[in-house]
Amino acid sequence: MSKITLAINLCNIQLGNPVILASGILGVTKALLKRVSENGAGAVTIKSISKEPREGHKNPTVITFEAGMLNAVGYSNSGVEKALEEFTNLQDVGVPVIASVIGTQKEDFVYVVERLSHTKFSAIEIPLSCPHTPGFGLLAGQGTPQATFGITSEVRKVTKLPLFIKLSPNIPEICTVAKAAEDAGADAITAVNSMGPGMIINIEARRPVLDFKVGGVTGDALRPIAIRCVYDLYKTVKIPIIGVGGISTGRHAIEMMMAGASAIGIGTGVYYRGIDIFKKIREEMVSWMQENGFDDINKIIGAAND
């Protein structure tokens, strides 16, 4: 067991293992990030923050179905000033902490990222791909190659921290958008955000269940789409890819890394397998590597692409 290494270097951030808590899950407080770290994550991502506080959509905001989850939380967050009060002394978390930053326009991203420039965050993720919050992501046209280039290059000017651009699986030209992000100075691509939006209707009530009516689809239903996106992106960009979408087992994680991901994100999986999913996935990855004669996780990255 001791000979097998899961350690990776992601944009010069040293991670003990490649399993990262994805944004939007549990990352509301520092205490929860710490708990996730204690449960085996290699890094953690906070819930996205905007310039101003947001209450988000009304409930129900998160529901599940046979093959995953549907959510329209609406980016509830306390705003950057209060978030800075919450996320202090990040070294206490025990693993690298990634900030997630949202905005309705270029200037907002720049403002928030600048406010974060003197903190202990290890990287900044910019989701330009949310399918369920008016003014943000896909609903604000941020997922086009032009907008992605514009936002990424403006943010690039105000931070030296590694910059991850999170993309939508919806768009046919995901590789073009990723290339735009790379050309604008992104250090990594996070692929993918939730897909959709989708809808679930309660037939007795004759109404959509989510208060926002539509929401992003994650979980098992998303995984094959996410794997394909990462597989395609691996051929297109030179920067690392963080593979996210429907991963809940060690085998899924290996699959995603073989598609080309240097690290993987866990979101909905916390629902399927509990808060210690990070530990479980890590152990399952090690077992699989042992059984299949791999000693270093880095040798698996992109293995399905040859």
Binding site: P53, N59, V209
Partner: protein, 259 residues
């Protein structure tokens, strides 16, 4: 389990006080005292409610009229439908036969009623600001009541009344739910007297099944790790009695919480 509301009809409505009504409905899933459900009114909102009555295939929630959502619940009639998902949370560990006490502050009493029903002879303390807020008077005949304004029973808080009671008898276990400041004080009393204690905490709940992180209290998710915590766990939770999160996730001092 799929986390989606199931529609059920209200089959009975009971008035508990001028501002509290209990809605009864069918729900054929096993539920434990202290657990909660999410109640959905299509096109309006969805909020958590503790199970105030757990009977065979029948559940009841006691709703305090407070805002838009609870007002809408108060306006429902028998035969109307509500969406239910859950039950969520870990509930109370009801132990007997030991000498125990149930302490409910305000609508917090709703969460403890099912505990009290399972403990014959238990001491029940219920406290409110004023006499008209007391609930379940017909349900529990021997409650020790207190009101802050002295309009009914002992004049003072549940904490004061508990201290009085402890002069007369020793409790091995206390179950409590109510405003967090009250809970904090009760835990302090329990620590001093070496009494085992279980506390049901309240936070703003979004998903209900442990994924969104909105209901955090010191790294514990109220919806899935709680809402009931034992005294030992509470001692490790720095936020208990001190801070809570608003809908936005902003951290505020408990006494500054905006209702």
């Amino acid at each position: 389990m799929i986390e989606q509301p199931i529609m059920t009809r209200i089959i009975d409505i009971q008035e508990e006080s001028p501002k509290v009504k209990t809605l009864f409905f069918e729900y054929k899933i096993h539920c434990k005292p202290g657990q909660f459900i999410m109640v959905w009114l299509p096109l309006l909102d969805e909020k958590p409610f503790t199970l105030a009555y757990i009977q065979k295939n029948l559940l009841g929630i006691s709703v305090l009229k407070k805002g838009t959502f609870t007002n809408a619940l108060h306006n429902l009639k028998t035969g109307d439908m509500i969406g239910i998902r859950g039950p969520y949370g870990n509930g109370f560990h009801v132990q007997h036969p030991i000498n125990s006490c149930v302490i409910g502050g305000g609508i917090g009493m709703a969460s403890l009623a099912t505990v009290a029903e399972r403990l014959p002879g238990v001491t029940i303390i219920q406290g409110t600001r004023t006499a008209t807020e007391i609930i379940y008077q017909k349900r529990f005949h021997k409650m020790k009541l207190c009101t802050e304004d002295g309009t009914l029973g002992f004049k003072g808080t549940t904490v004061d009344l508990l201290k009085e009671e402890l002069k007369k008898q020793h409790f091995q276990k206390i179950y409590t739910c109510g405003p967090e400041i009250m809970l904090y004080k009760i835990v302090k009393v329990c620590e001093m007297h070496g009494i085992e204690c279980e506390v049901s905490l309240e936070r703003y709940i979004k998903c209900g099944f442990g994924i969104c992180g909105q209901c955090d209290c010191s790294g514990q998710r109220i919806c899935i790790d709680g809402p009931v915590f034992c005294i030992k766990k509470l001692q490790t939770m720095e936020d208990f009695g001190k801070t809570t999160l608003l809908k936005t996730g902003e951290r505020v001092a408990i006494n500054n919480k905006i209702h």
